[in-house]
Subunit: 308 residues, 2 copies
């Protein structure tokens, strides 16, 4: 099993009064290490990397590595400008990260050649393995299969984090195989979109880059471990059990605000832990989140275990 | 005529070797002041605000005000995080700007309430008038008419920069009137999308927030001045004359790369003046730009004037 397989858990970077709450972040990282996730990705989208300044990101990268014990830490280094990405990558390397995650953030739309050159420059500028972060919902950049192939050939590319797979299992398998055919065999494929993770693993993905894994590692690990030994029905059943949670993601504009609300409710993050202008959920939405947390037992010791 | 009417020219912020080329920026600003544009908006999308660091933006804001003479300067203050926006606004105010331009930049999608609170916070935090910058092609945020209305009611909102108007003149007028009906009468409406500027002014917009105006002020002024005295046919004819330029915008993914190539070709900006990862146009594309510059006489003294 390589570094870029299994469950990579994406912790929040909780803010308190517009500053990184280091103590809360450390607690999240230590929980993940204790739960024995396969890796921790600090400063992913869930970790609000795009909103944090260079110094904040350096500090968070260091805290993650210092408190993760033996668990490998990947660090998100994306930024709008290539030179900023290079500076973040250098700091991730100094912090002791085991890999970096890079999304082609955009303000002006980028061409395929712009994005290829970004990855070429960054893989040349760092000795760390690079995860290609394909997240069109936030970057508004769409990777073609051909561009996956060109980038994956670059020395240093270790993995691709792909968007949710299609619902239909056969189409999902075909999609993963189509990507697999374009990239070198040492490059792993990781699924994102938590609601589709069990389906993605069943369809042949090697890893799950997971939002809920960063706050609720146990249910994410149950799905991942079942899938890793081929018990895809069991993984699907656990994912199905969490359907009320996925429904919240669908209803409340994605996973970030919901997971932040859960972390706040469980006392893992201070109130209003997301960077403004993201206000987080309304009181009414939070009440629905609380119901789901209760219903699924997500707040119990051994969080998220089925009842006896 | 208020401050937020007529031609607001958006200069590039040329980079050289990943640093702001202050001398080139000053030359652009001085050209605009000499051409007697109605205002200069530094650090708009054309000015690459989203890619520049806090210190770079502070410096550019100061250079703009220092070299604009009597021409009012507006400064783009957008950023992903509210606290960063506030810091930029404070620096714009210190620099002596006459207004600020604020786009709701996104990485995570924002709700209407998030964006309203952003504008509420910023208008409360600055004494400068604020231009609401609606640029869905870069922010991926869509303003509803209702949100325009809520935000325009905030004290301190001076103008709204709207996306291109519909092609059909009647629909364009209806669109501008629909916005007008929702906002207080002291809030001006400015059109963007240079190819549709003459149409937008004819449809009742008070201002043109102009990309080409920042590099080629003369043709932009001819369109604006004709429209300002009700000679909309003349404005339309001048816009029509520039059709080959608008075609380049359409073919080469927007105005920024084309205008940067023109500035580079005219010696107004160093080669490769855009922030990486934006590579700018290819050699082949630049050859087409050169043809259009030649054809339209954009490089002549009294740039862009018709022949005798």
């Amino acid at each position: 099993m390589t570094l870029f397989t299994g469950l990579s858990a994406f912790p929040l970077t909780p803010l308190a009064g517009d500053a990184v709450d280091g103590a809360a972040f450390i607690r999240l990282v230590e929980r993940l290490a204790a739960a024995q996730v396969d890796s921790i990705t600090a400063l992913g989208s869930t970790g609000s990397y795009a909103y944090l300044g260079f110094e904040e990101r350096r500090r968070v990268a260091r805290l993650a590595v210092e408190h993760a014990g033996d668990t490998p830490v990947f660090v998100g280094v994306g930024a709008l400008r290539t030179s900023q990405v290079l500076a973040n990558a250098e700091e991730a390397e100094r912090a002791g990260a085991s890999g970096i995650l890079l999304a082609p953030m955009t303000y002006q739309p980028l061409t395929d050649d712009d994005v290829f050159e970004l990855f070429r420059t960054v893989t040349t500028g760092t000795s760390l393995p690079v995860i290609v972060y394909d997240n069109p919902a936030t970057t508004h950049f769409t990777f073609s299969g051909e561009l996956y192939g060109r980038i994956a050939e670059l020395p240093g590319i270790a993995s691709i984090k792909i968007p949710p797979v299609p619902d239909d299992p056969q189409q999902a398998r075909a999609r993963v195989q189509e990507i697999r055919n374009r990239i070198p065999s040492h490059v792993t494929i990781g699924v994102s979109g938590d609601a589709k993770a069990a389906a993605g693993l069943a369809a042949g993905c090697d890893a799950w880059y997971s939002v809920i894994g960063g706050t609720l590692p146990e249910p994410a690990l149950r799905i991942t471990r079942a899938a890793q030994v081929g018990r895809f029905g069991e993984a699907a059943a656990e994912s199905e059990r969490l359907a009320p949670l996925w429904q919240l993601f669908a209803d409340f504009g994605g996973s970030l605000r919901v997971v932040a609300a859960i972390a706040e409710q469980l006392g893992l993050a201070p109130e209003a832990c997301l960077p403004l202008p993201i206000q987080g959920l309304t009181a009414e939405q939070r009440a629905r989140v609380a119901e789901v947390v209760e219903e699924l037992g997500l707040g119990s010791p051994g969080i998220g275990h089925r009842g006896p």
